[in-house]
Amino acid sequence: MPSLRGRVWQLGDGFSCHQIVPNRFDFRRTADWAAAEEHLFEESGLSFAGEIGDGDLLVAGTSFGRGHAHYHLQAIKALQRRGVGAVFAVSFNAIFQRTAINEGFPAWAYGSALAELTVTGHELDVDLDTGLARNLSTGQERKLSPVAEVVREILDAGGLEASTLARLTK
C-alpha cells in the first residue's frame, strides 16, 4: 500500500459509532450507505465535521469506534464514501477495527506516538509498510511499528473478500 498523505483532523477519546453515523442507520435495517454518508458526523459534536473530506486522515484517541457491532458497518461505509483516507487511533474498539480492515479501510492503532506528532490542520504522511510517519507541516518524523503483515495484505487487496479470493486462486 502506498503511504497515506492527508490533512489531519484530531478526535478525542472514546469516539463512538453513533458520532460517526447516527444509530438509526443500523445497516440491518437500512443498508443505505448514501444516507449514512449524508448524516456523517451529525451527532459528533465536532465544530469542523462539515470540513472533513477527501483524503483526510482522522487521528483519534482511545477506543475509536465504540458501540455495538450493528453500528460499525454503516460508519465505515460512510467514512469510505466521504473519501476519508484512514483512521489512526491510540486504540480501537476491536470489533470495529476488524470490520474496517475487512472493508479495506485502513484503521490502525499506533498508541499515543502518532497523536503526539500532529494536531488538526497538519499535513501528515504515514507509510503503513515501514511505519514512517512524517508531519509535513512541522517537518517532524517518527518511526512507528509497521502495520501487521496480515492486515497489510488485506488492505493491499482492497479488503478481506479480495484478499481471500487471491489466496484461494493461488
Binding site: R24, G67, H70, N93, A94, T99, I154, E161
Partner: protein, 422 residues
C-alpha cells in the same frame, strides 16, 4: 496473554506463543452460520467451503418476509456444498446460533469457534475461543481460518452466590457496568469459586454480553459440570484448556454475584441502568422474554413460576420465544408451556424473535408503545417503531410487569410462589 486460556488456544493453533498487537490467521474447528449470514462469493457455487463436515447452519432470524424461500434456498446451498444434512438446524430442529452449537456438541473446550452472528462469543461458555465473524463469515467458510489482532486478556473472578430467582441476564447487565472501559477490545476470562455453581445455561447467557461491552470474546474455564454437559454430545475430539498459574492479564476484576441487583435500562440505549424501584409503576403494553441473551430453560422456569395460576394483564401482550427447539421441548416436558399458555402468554416458535424487527414475531412494536424485554439491544427502532420505548431487564421483571401491566418488582410474586417449580 501468555498462559491465559485464549493465549494457549491461539498458541496451539499458531504453533508458537502469540503477543498482543500482532496479527495472526487462526485455523477454526467449526463455523456456525444462520439464515441471516451473507454467503458472499460462495453463493454462486464456484468456490467450496473449506470443510463441509465442520460447517453448521441454524435457522433463527426467520425473516419476516423471505422466510419460506430462504429455507429452500439455504438447503440448496448446503446440498451443493456437500454439508451433511444433520449439520442443518432448519425448521423443526431450529434455534438460535448462540445455543444450538452448545446443545449439539459443536462448540467444545479448547476449540476455535467462528460464528456468523454478532453475539457468537456466547460459545465461550464452553471453554472455546468463540469469535464473531459477522459479515465476513463467508471468507472464513472458504479458508477455514480467521484473522485477528491478538488482544489482551482481562480476568474476571466470580465470587459469592447469585441470589435465588436471579439468572444470567442479571449478571450480564451488571457486567456491562463494571467492565465498561476495562474490557473493551479484550478477551474476558472468567475464574473464581462461583463458576462451579453456574449452570451451563447461565454461563452461555453471561458470555453472550461480550459484544455489548466491545470485548472480542469471553471464555469460561472447564469444570466437571461442563464436561458432564458435553458427555455424549461432542462432535469431534477436544482438549480443555485451563489458565496457567502465571497467566498474564491486563486487568483483574472481582465480581461478587451476591451483590447483584435487578435493574431496568431504558427507554433506549442512551439510558443507564436503574434499580427496578425507580421505574416502578411505569405502564407497559408489550413484554418479551426471548433472544440469545435469555429464554434458556432457567429463564423459562422463572417465567412459569411467576405467571402460574395468574393472568397476563389485558393491556399487555406477553410473548415468550424459547431459544431453541430442544429448550421448547424441555419446557413442554416440565409443564412450563402449559403454565404460560394458561396465563395468556403467547409462546412462539424458537428463534431470535422480537429482538430484531426484521424477524417473525407477533410483538413488532408500534409508535407510542412501551416494552419490557430480556433481549439484546434497545436502540430506537430495534423492535419496530422508532417511537416505541424499550426497557431491557431480566425475565422475572418482564413476567411480573406483564401481569401487573406496569413495571414492577417481581419479588412479591416470587415469594408467593416460593414452593413452585424451581
Amino acid at each position: 496473554m501468555t498462559g491465559t486460556m485464549a493465549g494457549q488456544i491461539l498458541a496451539r493453533r499458531c504453533g508458537r506463543e502469540v503477543t498482543p498487537g500482532e496479527a495472526v490467521r487462526v485455523p477454526v474447528d467449526v463455523v456456525c452460520i444462520t439464515d441471516g449470514t451473507p454467503l458472499g462469493f460462495l453463493a454462486e457455487g464456484e468456490y467450496k467451503v473449506w470443510d463441509p463436515a465442520r460447517v453448521i447452519m441454524t435457522f433463527d432470524h426467520l425473516d419476516r418476509v423471505r422466510m419460506p424461500a430462504l429455507h429452500q434456498g439455504k438447503r440448496a446451498f448446503l446440498d451443493a456444498q456437500g454439508i451433511p444434512p444433520e449439520n442443518f438446524f432448519g425448521i423443526g430442529r431450529h434455534g438460535i446460533s448462540h445455543q444450538i452449537p452448545a446443545e449439539h456438541g459443536w462448540a467444545l473446550p479448547g476449540a476455535v469457534f467462528a460464528g456468523g452472528d454478532t453475539q457468537a462469543a456466547t460459545m465461550g461458555a464452553l471453554n472455546c475461543l468463540a469469535l464473531a465473524t459477522n459479515e465476513s463469515t463467508y471468507n472464513t467458510l472458504a479458508t477455514g481460518d480467521v484473522w485477528l489482532i491478538v488482544p489482551d486478556c482481562v480476568s474476571v473472578r466470580l465470587e459469592g452466590e447469585l441470589p435465588p430467582g436471579f439468572v444470567a441476564k442479571d449478571v450480564s447487565e451488571h457486567l456491562q457496568q463494571v467492565l465498561a472501559g476495562v474490557a473493551e477490545g479484550t478477551i474476558v476470562e472468567f475464574s473464581g469459586p462461583a463458576v462451579q455453581d453456574l449452570s451451563i445455561d447461565t454461563r452461555l447467557g453471561i458470555a453472550n454480553v461480550a459484544n455489548n461491552i466491545g470485548a472480542l470474546s469471553m471464555i469460561f474455564p472447564p469444570d466437571r459440570a461442563l464436561l458432564d454437559y458435553i458427555e455424549g454430545r461432542a462432535k469431534y475430539d477436544y482438549e480443555p484448556v485451563h489458565p496457567l498459574p502465571d497467566a498474564e492479564y491486563a486487568a483483574e476484576v472481582v465480581v461478587d454475584l451476591g451483590q447483584i441487583r435487578r435493574q431496568v435500562r431504558g427507554p433506549d440505549n442512551t439510558a443507564s441502568a436503574r434499580p427496578v424501584a425507580e421505574l416502578d409503576g411505569l405502564g407497559i403494553t408489550a413484554a418479551y422474554v426471548g433472544s440469545c441473551s435469555s429464554a434458556r430453560i432457567d429463564d423459562l422456569a422463572l417465567v412459569a413460576r411467576i405467571v402460574r395460576d395468574r393472568t397476563v394483564h389485558p393491556s399487555v401482550r406477553f410473548v415468550v420465544t424459547p431459544i431453541s427447539s430442544l429448550v421448547a421441548a424441555e419446557a413442554a416436558r416440565r409443564g412450563y408451556l402449559e403454565t404460560m399458555l394458561a396465563a395468556g402468554v403467547t409462546v412462539t416458535t424458537p428463534g431470535c424473535g422480537a429482538c430484531f424487527s426484521g424477524n417473525q414475531s407477533p410483538l413488532l412494536l408500534e409508535a407510542g408503545e412501551r416494552c419490557v424485554t430480556t433481549s439484546v439491544e434497545n436502540n430506537r427502532g430495534r423492535m419496530g417503531s422508532d417511537e416505541a420505548d424499550i426497557y431491557i431487564t431480566d425475565p422475572a421483571v418482564v413476567a411480573a410487569s406483564a401481569l401487573a401491566g406496569r413495571i414492577t418488582d417481581p419479588e412479591p410474586y416470587l415469594q408467593e410462589h416460593a414452593d413452585a417449580i424451581a
